[in-house]
Every structure is written in C-alpha cells, then in structure tokens.
C-alpha cells in the first residue's frame, strides 16, 4: 500500500545505541584514567630513566646496533615463515578437501600450549646425549653431533610455536568468507587458482598481516627461546647489562619498547582495516579438490604438526620417563620430589588466578567506557592498555624492579606478590580488555534501558543485568590472562618474591643446571595445565556460540 513500509527500521536505533547517552559519568572516566596511569607506569619509567640516564648516545654504538640487527633479522625471518606456514595450513584445512580436515583443524593451533622456551628446551634436550634423537641415532650406529642453536635454532623454534598466531585469524577469516564470492568469481570465468589469488587472498590479507605482526612482536619480545639458543637479541643484552650497566640496559629497553609500540600500532591499523569487510558466517564454503597434490599436502601438515606439537612432547616425555624409571630402579634419584612439583604447580595456578581476576576487575571500567561511551579519554586509555601488552615482559619487569628500588615510598613493594601481580596485569591486561569490551558490547544497550525504565538504579542494573550477561565473556578473558600468566617467563623470573617458585621458574633453573629429566617433568605439567585451560576456553566458547 505505501512505499515506505519497506524502509529498514533498524538504522536509526543502531546509530543511537552506538552514540550512547552523551558524556560518560566522571566516576567512569576517572576510574579509567587511574587505570591508564597504572598501565603507563612501567613504560613511563623506562622512558624517564633512558632520557635522564645520559646513555642515549649508546644507541648509535656498534655494540648496540648488533643486537638490534640480530633482533630484526630474527623477527623478519620468523614472521615471514610463520605467515607462510599459518596461511598455508589455514587454506588447506578450511578451503580444500584435505583428508582428516577436522583433525587438522583441532591440532593446528595447539602448539600455542608450549611456551617458546619450553619448546626450545625440548628441542635442544632431544638432540643432546640422553635425548631421544641422539640415542636413537646411537642405536643405529650414527654418532649424532648436530646441535640446534643460534639464528637457525631460534628461527625454527619460534616459527613452529608462533605460526598459530597467523593460522587462527586467517582460518577464521577464510571460513567466514561467503562461498557466494568464490562462486561468483568462478561464474565470471576464473579458474580455482585464480580465484584464490584474486578473491580469497585479498580478503585474507589483512588477517595474515595482523597475525604476522603479532608474531613479529612475540619474537622481538621473546626472552627464553633466544636465551636457550644462545642468540643474543635485544632482550638478552638488556638482561645481561641490567645490573652493572644500567644506562645501556635502559637505553636498549627504550629502543625495544619503541619497536614494540610501532609494531602493535601497525597491527591495530591493519586489523581494523580488515574488520571493515563484511563477514558472513557460511558453513558451505567451496572446497577445492587437491587432486594429485593431496599426498604432499598431508605430508606438509604432518611435518609441521609433528615438529611443533608431537616432537617436543615426545622429547620431554622421553626425558621425564627416563628420569622416573632411573629413580624407580634406584639408580639415580631425581632432584625433585612430588612435593616440589605440586608446590610449583600450586604457586603457578593461584598466582595466575589472582592475576586473571585482578586484570578483569581493573580493565572493566575501561571496557564500559569504551563500549558504552564515545570519548577521547576512552581512546587514550585504550591505547595505554594495549601499549602495556606490547611492552615486552622483560622490560616491564626491569622497569618495575628499578622503580620500586628507587621510588622510596614504594620500597616496601620490592619482592612482594602485589608487584608481581601488577607486572602481569600491566602486561596481559589488554587481553582481558579485548574480551571484556566484547562482553560489555554484547549487552544490548536496550537491555540496560529496559532495566532503567523498570526502575533499576545503576548498581542493580550492573549486578542483575550487565554482569550476568557478561559473565561468560569475562570468564573467557580471565582464562586468557591466566593462560598467558602461567607461561610468562621473564617477568616471573625477575619480579617473583624470593622463594616463590612457579613452574616456569623451576623449569628455567633445572634447565640451566642441566637437570634435564626434572626440567622435562615440570614442563610436561605446565603444558598439561595450559592444554587443559586452552581446551576449556575453546570448548566453552564453542558452547557459547551454539
């Protein structure tokens, strides 16, 4: 009857709900600014120390430029190979008729459960005398001399344990790509490979770029793997010079910090650009028949997953079982009893749980500010929190240690749990913020309005509407923080109170002392816990979606 009845009614309401009801209340802005101040502390202190330390001229020295050059070399190599590997696996598992696709899709991201230094330790210990590769070769009469170290070692290990950062976003992007796009390209005359190059790759490129930049960030921040591989990057130099050449240490920390911030800024720009394209969930994606390439595709997947997932587990299990049997036969005692393992496990679990809860609580006001109000304060606070994530754990640790040492009113914090939790929260708060922000925006604005009109005040709305609806999302964020915290090496190593020994600290010390069997047992426990937590997060998320 009337032409207007077909007009869409939603646009107006949508625009309104995004705009929010004007300016945020000052309590919220104030809280967010306070949070930002906390998150800015480590970076700010590094900046201040570097600028006032009179060591900035060192930045142009050869001795400084060498680790920078090595860091850049490694980071470029690792991100390039991780991008290649992650994209190839994503395309194979999502877009082709690869046999056992579902299996590959489950196992492909799993190497994330290994902290890179545990992976590096597993590889190195597998190749040394007593390790599975060395011993097997010995049985075959080969004197196995190969040792993994230096650039090649660091590159291999970091590639294997970081490619999931590319795989995950690219696989998600590819499976969300509507098949109608490809079908149209086919109908318009493209052959399958042309479709990949002209349609699929351009659609996935922003995910590939964002993932690769995360790998780049991970690599420049990495402390444990490069240490084990004896490859001196910036983190190693900073660590080595922190006690006796603090000027240099802080100047390099500033350099690393700047590098990390540039990378994370680039990542956010790229990711934001990518998210602009429309995503349609469509399960019936086109599958490209691999034909005669099927065998080599399976071989590639097997090789990657075998090296990144099964090889470290086998190597660690071999050392662990070897040590355990040796003790059972009474040959040589493990320098570790179950009490030590249980104690370290308990410390790990509870400190990461405390951190997770603290992180979610701290970022919640920021999440509300970002999701409910559009304000300049929100943008700045968000930037500061994300920057906290970009700053390498080592830099956060060193900054907080020397800040507590030099800021006399805060001396009482030296070597205490609060400062350790603070370091973790600054470093991983962004993970909680991202999920909390999603959780807050998952509460429709109208839900809050509806509660208001039914007479509920702010507190009642928060307790009876917002928090219950957000709970699954907040729990996922807490889980992510917990997972990252239990795997964090440098911050734990440097900031932990004396006598507080988590799994990573024990693993580190046993490896440095070459107690490889003990190292293996502790690593297996850590990997098992983080695998369990990952599984919970993934399964829970799957439930949430369905």
């Amino acid at each position: 009857m009337s032409e207007t009845s077909t007009a869409t009614p939603t646009t107006e309401g949508a625009a309104r709900s995004r705009a929010g009801t004007g300016r945020p209340p000052w309590t919220l802005s104030g809280g967010a600014v306070l949070v930002a101040a906390l998150f800015a502390l480590p970076g700010g202190y590094v900046l201040w120390r570097a600028l006032t330390g009179g060591a900035l001229h060192l930045l142009t020295e050869r001795r400084t430029l060498e680790p920078l050059w090595r860091t850049a070399q490694l980071a470029f190599l690792v991100s390039a190979s991780a991008a290649l590997l992650g994209t190839a696996l994503a395309w194979l598992t999502v877009r082709t008729d690869l046999p056992l696709r579902r299996f590959w899709r489950v196992v492909a991201p799993l190497p994330l459960v290994y902290p890179s230094f545990v992976g590096a330790a597993a590889f190195r210990s597998g190749l040394t005398p007593g390790g599975i590769v060395h011993d097997l070769a010995g049985h075959l009469g080969i004197d196995f001399q190969f040792r993994l170290h230096g650039l090649a070692g660091a590159w291999l290990v970091l590639t294997l344990f970081t490619y999931p950062y590319v795989y995950l976003p690219v696989a998600a992007r590819l499976s969300a790509l509507p098949s109608s796009l490809e079908e149209n390209a086919r109908l318009l005359g493209d052959r399958p490979l042309q479709v990949f190059r002209r349609v699929v790759l351009p659609q996935a490129s922003s995910s590939i770029a964002a993932g690769s930049l995360l790998v780049f960030l991970y690599t420049v921040s990495d402390f444990g793997a490069v240490h084990l591989m004896r490859f001196e990057t910036l983190t190693q130099t900073i660590y080595r010079t922190r006690l006796f050449d603090q000027g240099r240490s802080f100047a390099l920390a500033l350099l690393l910090l700047a590098l990390a911030l540039v990378v994370i800024a680039a990542e956010r720009t790229v990711a934001r650009r990518g998210s602009r394209t429309e995503v349609v969930e469509d399960r019936s994606s086109l599958r490209i028949p691999l034909g005669r390439w099927k065998a080599s595709a399976v071989a590639t997947c097997s090789l990657v997953v075998g090296l990144a997932l099964f090889a470290p587990a086998v190597s660690l299990a071999d050392w662990g079982l070897f040590g355990w049997f040796r003790q059972r036969r009474g040959l040589a005692g493990l320098r570790l009893d179950w009490g030590d393992v249980a104690g370290a496990t308990w410390s790990t679990v509870w400190v990461s749980m405390v951190t997770a809860v603290a992180a979610v609580a701290v970022v919640l006001p920021v999440a509300f500010l970002l999701a409910r109000h559009r304000s300049r304060v929100g943008g700045i606070v968000n930037g500061v929190v994300v920057a906290g994530f970009a700053i390498p754990g080592l830099v956060v640790a060193i900054s907080l240690i020397f800040w507590t040492l030099h800021a006399s009113p805060f001396e009482f914090l030296i070597g205490t749990m609060p400062i350790l939790v603070f370091a973790y929260v600054v470093h991983f708060g962004a993970l909680a913020l991202r999920t909390a922000q999603v959780a807050v925006s998952a509460v429709p604005r109208r839900m809050d309005d509806a509660a208001r009109l039914l007479g509920a005040g702010r507190l009642r709305r928060l307790l009876t509407v917002d928090l219950p609806i957000m709970a699954p999302g907040l729990a996922a964020g807490a889980g992510l923080v917990m997972l990252s915290t239990m795997k964090e090496l440098p911050a734990t190593l440097l900031v932990s109170p004396i006598g507080f020994r988590t799994l990573v600290v024990e693993i580190w010390d046993t490896y440095e002392a070459l107690y490889l069997a003990e190292m293996a047992i502790l690593s297996l426990v850590l990997v098992a816990i983080s695998a369990l937590l990952t599984w919970f997060l993934v399964v829970r998320r799957a439930d949430h979606l369905s």
Partner: protein, 350 residues
C-alpha cells in the same frame, strides 16, 4: 527511592503526557526542533515518520533516555524534564517495549516480568496476572531464548505493564516479526491496550500500522511535527504535500485558483479546502475511476487481491494512479478514460 516506589504502586491511573517546545540534539544540528504534543490519558497515539525523522529520539526523550536541550515534558502533572528538572528514567513511571523485546536472556519469563516490581510485590500474583493478560501464563518458567518472536514481544509487554506505568511507550514493537505474526500480535496488543486504557505512544515507520492502531497519529518530518490528527484527518486533509504523499498514494494536480472548483485532466473537481494562490490538488487513487474511453493508456496494473492499482498515462497530462476493484476488465496497453468520482479535494499550498 522507597517513596517513589510506593507512589508508583498506588498511583495506577493512566496519565496524560505533555511535550512542550522540545528540542533534542546530539553533537550537531538538532534532531528534534521545538516540538509540542498533547496526549490525553488513555489515548493511543502513533508517532509516524521515515527513518531518521526523530521519532525514536522523541520516544527516548519521553522515557528519559535522552536529555533534551530545551523544552519540557510532563507526565500527568509532574514535570519530568525541563524547567531545570530531569527525572531519571527509572523514576518516571514509564513502561517501554523495545523493537527486539530486550528481554533479559539470563532470567526466565517470570523473573523478567517481576523485574520492575518492588520486592514485596514480586510474589503478590501481579506477575501471573500480567502474563495472563498477554495470554502467556503457561510459559512462566521458560527462558526467553526458547520463545518465538511473537511470544517474546508479548512477554516484553507484560513486563512493561506489570508495574502499572502511567504511560507506555512502544518502539517499533512489531517490526522484527514476519508479516502474518505481525498482524496477529498487533491485533492482540491493540485489543489489550484498548481494554486496559493505558496511555500509549508507539513509534512506527509503517503508515498502515499507525492508522490501524492509533487513535491519533503524529507525523514527524525532519525533527518537526508535520501534523497531528486522526487517521482520517491525515489521509483526507493533510496539511501539506509531504504528509499527503507520505501517508498514502497521491495524485497531485496543479491548480492556479483553488477556490470553488478546479479543472484538471480528469475533469472538474470541487475544492473542499481551498487556499490562496497556486496549489496542488490532492486526488487519492480511490477518488478516480477507469472507464471506457480514449484519454489515456494503461501502463501498469498492480493486483492486490482485495483491489488493484492501475497506472494510466493520460494523453494530455501526467501518469495517474487509480484504485479499482480487483476484477478489472482492462489490461496493460488498453486505451481508457479516467474520471473523477470523489466528493471534493483538498488544495495543498506549493
């Protein structure tokens, strides 16, 4: 807080609503400009307009979800916004049903409906009463996610009505439902609202919906009130060309002296409401008829079942729309004559 809740319980009569010179702006030009509207207790008023005209903003300002920059809003005798006062939405005695229902997904139907009741009334039978009102007493224990769209909207209505609000606001409450369900839910709600005598303001962009439900319809255009009146007022006596074309199909003929009667390509038309100077004469499609003749050619025939719309290109003028009975003896391409069969037209100033 306690006092307010107490007054809300006792004061169950529907309230009138007065909007005076209201202006609302987000950062930028005003979304609503100097808008005034009087609504009597128990009246059912539709806010009609194209998307972006400000109708949802008006509704949200009445609810207290937006803060006007000027003007006053009163519910009954109480100024809730303006003159330096601003009553928070949770204290206004206003109920609202949102486009998607906005039921709390983590609470069952019963708890959703009880949400707006004071603690001591949650077990007083009021919840059951409200659910029975919308015919959903049997789903009290279900979670909202397991209900159909129509049921969700009815629960949302029960939830809004349970605290006995003075004014009820509905924000495009049927737009998320598919056609058949929409008509059914609409008829049920209509009957219920009339029976209860609640003062109701609802927003819609659908002219048919506004006409069917509204005792009166307020048409909004670009943040201003274009016209308020009964559906028949708007359809028969629109105040300007924009309203005329927005609320229905219109044939407009230029007329230089719209007094007495006026010559048009479809013959002599008596002018009921004239004006000074040149104007457009509004002829609704049902004021015209198609007959045997040789004045124009049928361009299109749109068949609707209960009737049909015929587009005729006149030889000496524009294309006109004519509403005819469904079993039309003519076809596309036929030569026909168009005659005026109405009882008089309105002249709309240019």
């Amino acid at each position: 807080m306690v006092n307010i809740r107490a007054t809300r319980v006792d004061d169950t009569a529907p309230a009138g609503l007065h909007v005076n010179d209201l202006s609302v702006a987000y950062d930028g030009p005003p979304v609503l400009t100097d808008l005034s509207l009087e609504i009597a207790p128990g009246e059912l008023v539709a806010l009609l307009g194209p998307s972006g005209c400000g109708k949802t903003t008006l509704l949200r300002s009445i609810a207290g979800l937006e803060r006007p920059i000027r003007g006053t809003i009163s519910v009954g005798d109480r100024v809730v916004s303006g003159n330096g006062a601003f009553v928070a939405p949770e204290r206004r005695r206003i109920g609202m049903v949102f486009q998607d229902g906005a039921l709390f997904p983590h609470l069952d139907v019963q708890r959703n409906v009880a949400y707006g009741l004071p603690r001591d009334q949650r077990r007083s039978g009021r919840v059951e009463e409200a659910l029975a009102m919308v015919g959903l007493a049997d789903v009290a224990d279900r979670m909202p996610g397991t209900l159909s769209g129509g049921q969700q909207q009815r629960v949302a209505l029960a939830r809004a009505l349970a605290p006995r609000p003075g004014v009820l606001l509905l924000d495009e409450p049927f737009s998320n439902l598919d056609t058949t369900l929409r008509l059914q839910v609409r008829a049920e709600m209509h009957r219920l609202l009339v029976d209860l005598g609640v003062t109701t303001i609802f927003v819609t962009h659908d002219q048919e919906e506004a006409f069917v439900l509204g005792d009166r319809v307020a048409v909004l255009h670009d943040g201003r009130l274009a016209q308020v009146g009964t559906p028949d007022d708007l359809y028969r006596r629109p105040v300007n060309r924009w309203v005329a074309t927005f609320v229905g199909d219109a044939n407009l003929f230029r007329c230089d002296r719209p007094n007495g009667s006026c010559r048009t390509p479809v013959g002599e038309v008596p002018v009921l409401v004239g004006c000074d100077g040149p104007a457009n004469l509004l002829l609704r499609p049902e004021d015209l008829a198609v007959g045997e003749g040789d004045c124009g050619t049928i361009e299109l025939v749109e068949y609707y079942g209960h009737d049909a719309m015929v587009h005729v290109l006149l030889d000496d003028g524009p294309s006109v729309k004519v509403r005819t009975e469904a079993d039309l003896p003519h076809h596309r391409g036929d030569r026909v004559a168009v005659t005026y069969v109405g009882s008089g037209a309105v002249a709309l100033g240019l």
